[in-house]
């Protein structure tokens, strides 16, 4: 085993460790949903409360509101963990979407508009086992998430910076452009390049290549 571990490159080892951590967080959400497991909630709260608050503060919310909203988000997690499906989203993704949606609701007083999966107009992909709602198994999701983390870790710094600012800071591309002293067009093209390189990196090594490559 030690001899084997020695040949795993550092980036690969990190990825394995991260996957383990992510798996524990997913299982904690499942346990909350199954039987309101309080120890599991403590794990989730300890890991995510400060991070969620940091997201809200970064987006320009003042301290008291951010704290209040973060507590509401934790309460939503407690009450809605039953609907969490570990085969569909990583714990951090699920919690990010709750925080983002709750923030929108707070700012404008009505919910974010989303696709409804029971919509008769919903167009499903044909041969797309890489696509969202068909990505069912936990193993497949863990692999997918692991690849995404790796792709994000390897993003060129200027692309990662613009993505980070989009999620954790300003409201518009204009805000971000102003902060960085760049033309808006540059901000947009960096976002475009970032998403392209994430997707390209994630598809490397896929025998059944995605129907979506350019």
């Amino acid at each position: 085993m030690p001899a084997h571990a020695a040949v795993i490159p550092a980036s690969q080892r990190n990825r394995l460790l991260n996957e383990l951590g992510r798996d524990e967080l997913s299982q904690a959400l499942v346990a909350i949903g199954d039987n309101r497991d309080e120890a599991a909630f403590s794990i989730i709260y300890t890991h995510f409360a400060g991070r969620v608050k940091s997201f809200l503060l970064g987006k320009g919310m003042e301290e008291n509101t951010a704290e209040e909203l973060m507590q509401e988000i934790m309460l939503i997690i407690w009450r809605r963990a039953e609907s969490y499906d570990p085969g569909k989203a990583a714990a951090s993704t699920w919690i990010f979407t709750i925080a983002r949606n709750r923030r929108i609701d707070h700012l404008r007083g009505n919910s974010r508009i989303e696709v409804e999966l029971d919509d008769a107009m919903l167009e499903r992909g044909l041969n797309d086992n890489l696509v969202d709602e068909t990505l069912e198994s936990e193993t497949a999701l863990a692999q997918h998430t692991g690849k995404m983390y790796e792709a994000m870790d390897n993003l060129p710094p200027e692309q990662k910076q613009v993505m980070h600012l989009s999620y954790f800071r300003g409201q518009s591309h204009g805000d971000i452009a102003e902060w960085l002293g760049l033309p808006v067009g540059t901000v947009k093209s960096r976002i475009r390049l970032a998403l392209q390189s994430i997707r390209t990196n994630m598809q490397i090594g896929d025998a059944d290549s995605s129907p979506f490559e350019n």
Partner: protein, 242 residues
């Protein structure tokens, strides 16, 4: 724009730009833009896959972020949680994402008639698309206002344009989304038919023409009014959003 040229099995050939999908994922779009984006996503598995990926990128940044200091310990928060199980808290704060909270469709007919539209839009219409109180706007053009109608809020409306109608050449405001729901139009960027979205920034100027023998129905959101060239353009500028 790279996003506008890929051909997919769905027949959709004009997609949302990556930066628009990112703004949707980060929660930076207005409600009107969200309606157009969610409507296109309903019809387009390709953009839906990207949107899903961008949600998980949000998870990545949450995971990587420095932690702020929460005011409560986990034990104190748990106490609040247990309390909320006993006392049903304010519905608005805890259940805002439940199906029950969605606007009902005022018109079940929307689910059945041929001129169906995606639910994110259908929920905002008082009647099915054929039975809307369309208002004439210019020759061959009718609109149904979905927004405030105020110029400073940008456009949010449905347009119904008769075959053969040619719109005046115009530039765009800061950002404009046009989603074709029925029929089609063409301009210098290509042909747009049902499901296609034109995701245009201020750099674009175009002159759309309705190129099939049925009316084109399109959903439009913009965050600044389009600027029309020429006198006639100036006259209708306050009204038309495409």
């Amino acid at each position: 724009m790279t996003t506008q040229n890929t051909v997919h099995k769905t027949g959709i050939s004009h997609h949302l730009a990556e930066e628009t999908l990112t703004a949707y994922a980060t929660g930076s779009l207005s409600e009107a833009f969200e309606v157009v984006v969610a409507s296109h996503l309903t019809m387009c598995p390709c953009c839906r896959e990207k949107a899903k990926l961008l949600d998980s990128v949000g998870g990545y940044f949450v995971e990587q972020s420095d932690s702020a200091i929460p005011a409560l310990t986990a034990t104190e928060m748990l106490k609040k949680c247990r309390l909320s199980d006993v006392v049903q808290l304010d519905d608005r704060t805890t259940e805002q994402n439940d199906q029950s909270d969605k606007r009902p469709c005022a018109h079940e007919v929307t689910r059945e008639t041929a001129l169906r539209v995606p639910l994110p839009l259908a929920r905002r219409l008082p009647a099915s698309v054929d039975n809307l109180p369309w208002k004439p706007l210019a020759r061959g053009i009718e609109q149904f206002e979905l927004g405030t109608g105020s110029k400073k809020d940008g456009a949010f409306k449905l347009l119904r344009i008769q075959p053969g109608t040619q719109l005046i050449e115009h530039e765009h405001g800061d950002h404009e989304l046009t989603l074709v729901l029925h029929g089609s139009y063409s301009d210098s960027l290509g042909r747009y038919s049902a499901g296609d979205v034109a995701d245009l920034g201020p750099e674009h100027s175009h002159k759309p023409v309705i190129d099939s023998d049925e009316p084109c129905i399109a959903l439009i959101a913009s965050n600044a009014p389009a600027r029309y060239k020429g006198l006639v353009g100036k006259l209708i500028q306050p009204f038309v959003g495409i």
